[in-house]
Amino acid sequence: MPPARLPLPHRPAPSKVAGGVPALLAPLAALGRAVLGGCAAVGAVARFAGTALHAALTPRWFGRQIGRQFFTIGFLSLPVVGMTAWFTGAALALNIYSGGDRFNVETVLPQIVALGLTRELGPVLAALMLAGRVAAAIASEIGAMRATEQVDALVTLSTDPMRYLVAPRLIAATLCLPLLAMVADAIGILGGMQVGKSLLDIAPRIYVTNTFDFLTRWDVESGLIKAMAFGFIVGLMGCYHGFTASGGARGVGRATTQAVVTSAILILGSDYLLTSLFAHL
């Protein structure tokens, strides 16, 4: 007869959450899920970007669609970008006037306004305006097309949605934003000039001469390179979130929000990276 065993002291089983993970490890599990989800999302965006770039850079191109997107993304964004630039240039000049008198910085007001606009504010603000106006519109349009089977219909009509829907938007956003940034630079400088004339009595001709004497070609070019990168981001995020939208009207709304938020974050992040890169050139 086997010896009688002493009963083991009762030890409660570790409490479990759904999915069988001990409660103690739940935060780690959640962190792991978030990291895996983030990696999957980055991979999905990179894959989408690769396919979209291939569609944008190789024939066949849909000229009518590209023209339509140039009008929608470029021309129709002029008023909002122009107004933003004017107010920004004027506000920047006002700040220099009111805050810079402590060290006589108002004497170089035109130069600071021009530098701030061409290198930073022109491309960034034009891109943020485009993220709000264009990325949202692209995501909602393509998302609605996805929800109503129009994207499937394109495939059954022997037309590649990447070439017909994505490539034209990507091309137009990437090429239009540098043009819009140039317009923003010019209008912003005009805004600064208006303040310079009314508060510091700087003659417009002198303001413009000072601006152009000071600015280098690289000041403008670096801003335009940034704008091109930002335009690509806006087009890509709008198309990606629209293309991956699911769940009807709610899904389209969520895709629209994500397109704007991710565009804005990526614009500001890549702005820092590009500025760092340019600083070392």
Partner: protein
């Protein structure tokens, strides 16, 4: 020699996270025949068609068109395949930014690169077949009723003289006279032009008119497949309940 079916679903399995939508489905349709797929809502009828079009990939099994696995086609082969396929989507799936005639002539303009004037003339001809006049051609989809949008979608499906046609609820939302005309048009495509057609419908009158054969899908499998003449005589309990519309029987009306 055994003839290869035009279209065949070979033990197809498909699920979207939850229970299987298709669970080993077997079905085939011969060339020049009109097959109508019936079944309750949410039984996977639209998924069945999307798998045949390559818009979805099966988890297991295959769908073959003329003996070739649809899921294995590359982009060029798929584009060529779609050149001989016409599809009417349940909601029409018209492109909002294009006029009615540009929608109908979309394949002619973009895939076949036809001259715009010629493509418009072909679109107007197709619109006449679905009983829509030329005055509709320049309108936009948003200016049309749901039934008219459906007919424009149908005109788009038949404009390229396809060999294989798919219709997802072709007569839903249409008045009886237009429904009869659409049924006649589908029948004429099959009998007169030798097209193969696969349709989904809940409209049994339409099914009796357009079908050579009918298959019933329930819980991811074909539970009955037979000639249209046997629809009203079969003793299959699923078909009997579906045809009679009785809430009691093997099909649970609760979701």
């Amino acid at each position: 020699m055994t003839q290869i079916p035009k279209l065949r679903w070979n033990s197809v399995h498909k699920r979207f996270g939850g229970p299987p939508v298709l669970d080993g489905m077997e079905l085939a349709v011969a060339s020049g025949r009109s097959l109508v797929l019936i079944g309750g809502s949410g039984q996977g009828k639209s998924v069945t068609i999307k798998l045949a079009l390559g818009l979805l990939k099966p988890d297991a099994g295959s769908v073959t068109l003329d003996g070739v696995d649809v899921a294995g086609l590359d982009a060029d082969q798929r584009a060529a395949m779609f050149g001989k396929v016409g599809m009417l989507f349940q909601g029409g799936a018209l492109f909002d930014s294009l006029s009615v005639w540009e929608n109908v002539a979309f394949r002619l303009l973009n895939a076949e690169r036809m001259d715009r004037a010629e493509a418009r003339a072909r679109a107007v001809e197709a619109l006449a077949l679905v009983r829509l006049g030329e005055q509709v051609a320049n309108l936009f989809p948003g200016e049309l009723s749901g039934g008219m949008q459906k007919r424009v979608g149908l005109a788009r499906a038949i404009v390229g003289q396809p060999e294989l046609l798919f219709f997802d609820e072709p007569t839903t939302g249409l008045d009886p006279i237009t429904s009869a005309a659409i049924n006649e048009l589908i029948r004429e495509r099959v009998t007169g032009l030798g097209c193969t057609a696969v349709s989904i419908t809940h409209d049994l009158h339409s099914a009796r008119t357009i079908a050579d054969e009918i298959a019933m899908l329930h819980k991811g499998r074909i539970v009955w497949h037979g000639p249209v003449a046997e629809l009203d005589t079969t003793d299959n309990p699923f078909v009997r309940q579906f045809v009679s519309g009785s809430p009691t029987g093997p099909i649970d009306a609760n979701v």
